[in-house]
Amino acid sequence: MVRLRRIVLDILKPHEPKLVPFTEQLTEPEEIRGVTAKLVDIEENVRRIRVTVEGEDIDMETLEEHIMDLSGSIHSIDEVSCGETIVDDPWLPN
């Protein structure tokens, strides 16, 4: 089974929970090593965030359920890294 190491998601969420508790709670599963969330856009009732999740073997189903439980909705999966090591995108500007 291929291990999912890093995933970048575009998420729409209400203003609550706020970004810090939202990100903190995403790190709760054991296999998650770290999460970075970045605010992309704020609207009247919702905000769009970009979330990068890194771990040893991320369970995508659990992650999706967790995000939904935090009232988030995954709009798109923007980047995926699988395998033994994380290979950085060579086209990304340094």
């Binding site: 729409l12 929970p17 919702v46 939904m68 935090l70 009232s71 909705s73």
Partner: protein, 196 residues
Amino acid sequence: MNPRERLAGLRRVLGKEDVRSLARRYFVANGFDGTLTSIGVVLGAYMGGSVDNGLAIIGIGLGAAIGLGTSGIWSVWEIERAETSRELLQLEAAMMTDLEDTQLTRDFRSEQIVLALAAATGPVIGVLVTLFPLLFEGVFLSLFQAVLLSIAFGVLLLGGVGAYMGSISKQRWYVAAARMGLAGIVVAIITVFLPG
């Protein structure tokens, strides 16, 4: 949801400043109602002359506490239910998704519980504190003394709440205390001069 999750949810909700502020408002506003009602009930019962012991006045006061407590819990529960349902509908429309059984809806429910309890405990505490001296009627207080002490307890409680509100709003606490306490004295004076 297990008890640990429920507790975590309650802690999360109590950590929100807007929930604490709203709970404080409900608690103080309804506590004010309860204390003034209690002063009116105690003095009205005494002046009416139909009761001759402290326990009878306590019985009447407890009836008021039950009424005001139930009113607080019931009305705030319904108000908050309507408000959170409206907010949820707006959010679901904005997100184009169903938010049923998410942390958000569970937190909304916890907020409802916290606010309804704050609205109910305010008047009950107000009434109980005011009635407290009447327990000692016939022990070491006459009915008249117990009634006077009861009004004093009510006024002091109002003053204490006023002082607290004054301190959190960075006003002169003694002015806020006097303003709140004055309401109790006004109720007492009006009750004394009521016909009959």
